[in-house]
Amino acid sequence: MAGETSGAEGADKGEGVVAMREIASRAVAISKVYGHGETAVRALDEVSIEFPSGQFTAVMGPSGSGKSTLLHCMAGLDRVSSGEVWIGDTELSRLNDRRLTMLRRKEVGFVFQAFNLIPTLTAAENVELPLAIAGDQAERSWFERVTGEFGLAKRLRHRPTELSGGEQQRVAVARALLSRPTIVFADEPTGNLDSRTSGELLGFMRRSVDDFGQTIVMVTHDPTAAGYADRVVFLSDGHIVDEMAEPTAEKVLEFLKRLGD
């Protein structure tokens, strides 16, 4: 296991050089305005950002700063008011609902803060759901590898109500990864978890970036969580205000303190 992991890491580092230049997803001057006239809220204001392949990005910022809006727009769950959103080679604003749905199915994974699973389906079925919806089948070995990595092998036949909160979120992340999407978005995936389970989940996410070369963008409030990422983007009032590479929990905390002043 250990050997495998280091092997994969080595391979990733090799690809990493190339991957740094390959962009999984990017936003070009996107704005998002809710409502009209007097009551209009500009949740995102001309935001441009790139998410390189194989990178784990954390998005931080005060409540109401537009983090969720950014994620939703980037993931094709919501439409931007202006600007362009690219996933791989596809620009989202020109897609109709159907094409957008197809794109979400194949290219995007999503993890919410809560309620990620269909209660009538078992953990395994939930993991396979996006593929099943597409009428595809998961590659057996890949499925076993992902669920194995996430420590779900023994829980696959359980229904969501029989799983702990941490396990449920692990199923959700496994689901997001299974179709090998171009990018996975996670909106406060650890928001409802205690620190130990959070740590476990973040560890799994980190490993999926390292081992499988997955691209992940995660919104979080927690500096510790941000410490698992390769880079942190700071959002405030719909603007990207700063960015930090190779973050650690301490550095992030420090930065937030300064931002607060």
């Binding site: 969720s68 999503f110 919410f112 209660p119 009538t120 759901l129 099943a132």
Partner: protein
Amino acid sequence: MWRVTIKGLLAHKLRLALTALSIVLGVGFVAGTYVLTDTINKTFTELFTETTKGLDVAVRGKEAFGGQESAEQRQPLPAAMRDQIARVEGVRAAEGSVTGYAQFVGKNGKPVTTGGAPTLGVSVYATPELGESTTVRSGSLPKGAGQVAVDARTAEKQGFAVGSRVRIIFQGPAREFTVSGIVGFGEADNLAGATLAAFDLATAQEVLNRRGVYDEIDVVAAEGVSPETLRDRIQAQIGGGYEALTGEQYAEENAKAVGQFTNVINIALLSFAFVALFVGSFIIVNTFSIILAQRTRELALLRCMGASRRQLMRSVLAEAAIVGFVASLIGLGAGILIAIGLQGLFEALGADLPTTSLEIKPRTLVVGLIVGVGVTLLASLAPALRATRVPPVAAVQEASMAAPARVGWVRITVGVVMTALGVAALMVGLFADEAGNRLVTVATGAIVVFLGVAVLSPLVARPLSRVLGWPFAHWAGQPGKLARENAMRIPRRTASTAAALMIGLALVSLVTIFAESLKASSAKILDQAVAADYILTGPSGGFTGFSPEVVKQLSAQPQIEAATGLRSGSFKIDGQSKGLTGIDPVSYGRTVRTDTISGDLGDLAQGGLAVRKDVAESKGWKVGDTVTMQFPVGGTDRIPLRAIYEDNQINGEYMLALRDYQRHYQDQLDVFGFVKAKAGVAPPESRAAIDRVLAQHPSVQVRDQAEFKQEQENQINQVLILFYVLLALAVVIAFIGIINTLALSVLERVRELGLLRAVGMTRGQLRAMIRWEAVIISVLGAVLGLAVGVFFGWTLVSALDEEGITEFALPIGTLLALVVAAGVVGIVSAILPGRRAARIDVLRAVTTE
């Protein structure tokens, strides 16, 4: 607490609207039925008051033979009695009148049929007071042997005008008359759908076979003599065999007879209304269960804040009462529309009901409201009870929507016991000979069976949905799979939604099976018992007879081997009224196969009686005994028993020799005829021979066996369609239930649906998922319904074996079509909920708490 109730109502107004719709339809049906029958009663009461205008006392023979089996038959009055009555003190005028069978022939040469109402021939009154009820619209009253007056409706429909020549068929040969006038009855154009041919008295007596007698003597009182006094005086004069009654009594009696008839309609329609309400109550149970389950947290919060169980209960029931009340009010309005619709339905089926303004009695409103509110309250009782059991702690716990699906032994026990009791009641009602209200027992049994099956259905809902959902899970991709999971998710909800449909489809399949069995049985009777090639029937399908001349002339044809006519009448034996058939034993024996156990049917040629085996057994008669029978003409007679026969479904219980029949009955009309062609004569030749004879008797219809079977099937089908139409409401309500359940489920699963969209489900797939769930539920209901319906049908047919329904026919094709139709309508019911689901905003669904 009240504020919570009201807020709850407002918050769920959309969901409650569909529930209310089921009550609206049920109450509407109830109210519509009352409005319709009250209106018919009113119309007739007005008509009878109109027609007895000017009549003070009427005298007629006592009714000797009432009962449902025969029309009223009275001893006619001798002509001399008129003079006797005219001499009674206080009589200003007395006049005899006759009524009989007279049928117009239309311009197309075909007899004018009425769809059940009589075709009357009557005499007109010479006395002006008595004639008051008849208003001459144009021309004048008939005078002399060549004139007739026609009712305005028939004249209009047939294009008869004053001066037209019309042909009229009587018991004897048809005759031609000149129309002297067109008459009405006050405002009414005819007498409740009957056709009327009026002649002067002498002509009427001649053509209606009433020479020297009257059916009735009508009296006008002298100034200052009350009808009651005069009635009593006349009664004293005429003796016990006759009765005198005042004009008022006469009208009342007629109105009562109509009342009995409308009462039957009333009960019949109300039973369908009841079915609709019964089905509707399932939907109420379901809606309240779902809404309350969704409000678990809210209810628990109220409990936390100190609301007592009783308060919660009251709050929920108040909500139900308000829904029931509002729905009933709307239902009453709908009822008036339904009354108009039912009137149209009857008219479409040929029953021409007179129309006046609709009669809306306070009783209708009160019953409608009580029924509507009552059903709603009753149905919400169980969900309300469940709501009060919500523990306060549920307010702070994660809501668990899905109730754990454990096998409840209480449910099994209750369900099995109820089903068993229901089946037992059904069997007792159907098979036990014991007097008492069998219909009530059967109906109660059926209801209890339905409830029992409904109680059990959650237990089978899961496995059955799994089986029925298999094709979807395997061929409809992930949406199909999820649809199956959803159908299995809350078995109680799926089951009660399906149960509503079960009831409707059980009844639909029951009547279908019954009708098919009826067709098969009568076809078999024809094949086995009827040796004849052709069957003759009178006008209006055997309600009225035809002249014996027909059979006589047919017998004389060289192509015909034998022709026989059957007459029917009633008599009294041991104080009971019974029906008999009058036959000519020789020709009858050649056309109808009868197996005798003892004696010989041919011996009836000397006069006498033959009875069915079971009658002979129960009475302890043997051939050679004499039987004392009381007849309408000639009173009591002792008739020798000549033969005892096996049941062949045609002969009936008693058969009387024609020569005895002729002595004991006034009207000599064949109601049925059988004709057998000579061997070796080709069917077209024998048919042509018959057609030649019948050219003189246009009211008689001839059919060969195949045509007769077809005709019977058509008649059965017509009734079947009426049943389908009436049951359709129950089925429609059941589908409203499916829409409702699905819509509620969609609302409940907003987040889940949003999540599915987020992970790549298209709107179409989402709609497909809801669609397949609807199909699974409706097919589940159909399958349960068919199971119950086939069982009911089989029991009913077995119970009626003795009444001639010997064959049990299972119309597999139709039943399968029902299942398919249920599936299709399931697809339709899913349209609205599916659209709603597809409209769900992905973000709202996944981000809101």
